[in-house]
Symmetry: C2
């Protein structure tokens, strides 16, 4: 089995793959979009992509790619996030920080308090941040990375657990050409693009779930890429698309909206 | 009047300030958070901060800062977005692209098709991207920036309008210590943090708006920073907090949730 994920080695995505299947072959990609492409093109069996972090929120692009590539969510995986200031020198030596944008978001207060003058150069992944520091061998450069990356690239951890919130988890989706069979403890993700515009429509749509005692676990608006204020709603709820009350709710939604089932899969929380 | 906004000169935030009040003094900040801080500390009268883009979606951190700093939304401003590949050399010379993360999101297809091998170094703002290229004078380095930045930093536009979607608008909030008086064509933004957890609660809450014919224009989930799956909902709707039916809806919401009015302000669309 081959799994495509954001590389290089040492990203939280890499860790998510190891948690999902420690024996799978891994195809590291340069961007999250590339991971989708490798699966769509059949060069990998599955992809593992970040969908949301308990502090920084949803990775909106992953939602966009789910629609664009027409792949299905097969599973979800959770990775606890711990960030570590890493490099070669002392904290007082640091003049430049190489950071992934989501890492910056998750460590912003630490950085503003402890390294307010550091220049921040953003990178395409935490693995990339570590790789750059390892190659530079420069004490003035540091990064904030997962422990797995510090180990792989042999960087010294200057301060551990520098994330602003102690409890920090990232949720990943396992994507493929099919979703999963019903287990009895499932979640379903859908995209809903309303085709009429009237006050109360969103309320009516959510009523299809509430009336059937289906518990929504998330709702997100993403721009339709059309005019400002025109949204596609991404909704997660408890249940499997094959269950009768879920299938009924989806059918009712289709009367006023384009509905895409992104996948039904076993719940991890 | 002094307005704090993301700098340096040449950002879309800079352009938003010029559109809002071309005679205001401008205090350029290094991050969006700093713009909030300057207003909170009284060093600027207002701040202008990006809240959402019609392609890339909501700037989640701006929502977080609205809660954290307890400032009010006084107005909204719209800026059409046009991105321009800019530098000194020819497109075939480019080996490194300096980009703001939102700019990358908005030009991703263009970059993947035209500059698939370019190294991408992300920056803290489009103005910063332009400044770096201007200082480097290196033909192998380029950036994708607003026209205003190419003009200020005297960069050559190598290809204009490289954003993936032709129609691309960013919405900004003007923030200050007070929101605005009723004009009859207003919008209100609120944050709702439910204090009970039961199926159908979100549906019930939206019912308070639907029953009063209040038109929701946006709903967004942001992590509460607590456990995964625990959200604060950000809702925009048409109307002013001083209107009777709006005040009633807000009062009903408060029975099951913490409700924060982020501001009522004149609608621009």
């Amino acid at each position: 089995m081959k799994i495509a994920t954001l590389g290089p080695e040492g990203t939280f995505s890499h860790e998510a793959v190891l948690r999902y299947n420690s024996k799978a072959g891994i195809l590291f990609t340069e961007t999250v979009m590339d991971a989708f492409e490798e699966v769509a093109d059949g060069k990998a069996d599955f992809g593992i992509v970040p969908i949301e972090n308990s502090i920084a929120g949803t990775v909106g692009q992953t939602l966009d790619y789910l629609m664009k590539f027409e792949l299905k969510i097969k599973a979800e995986e959770l990775v606890p996030i711990s960030h570590n200031l890493s490099g070669f020198g002392k904290i007082s030596d640091i003049k430049v920080l190489y950071l992934h944008p989501q890492t910056y978001e998750q460590c912003e207060l630490f950085i503003k308090e402890n390294l307010p003058k550091a220049e921040i150069i953003q990178t395409s992944s935490n693995g990339k941040s570590a790789e750059i520091i390892a190659k530079s061998k420069d004490k003035a450069k540091a990064s904030i990375i997962p422990k797995i990356a510090a180990d792989i690239y042999k960087l010294k951890i200057l301060k551990k657990d520098v994330q602003d919130n102690r409890f920090n988890i990232t949720r990943f989706f396992v994507i493929g050409h099919e979703d999963s069979k019903k287990t009895g403890y499932d979640r379903t993700s859908i995209a809903v693009y309303p085709q009429v515009d009237r006050p109360g429509l969103l309320h009516e749509m959510l009523g299809e779930f509430a009336n059937r005692k289906i518990n929504l676990t998330k709702i997100e608006s993403r721009p339709s890429k059309g005019k400002l204020g025109d949204y596609i709603f991404y909704i997660d709820f408890q249940g499997h698309k094959s269950e009768k009350h879920v299938a009924e709710a989806l059918k009712k939604l289709e009367e006023t909206a384009f509905v895409t089932v992104l996948g039904s899969y076993p719940r991890k929380y």
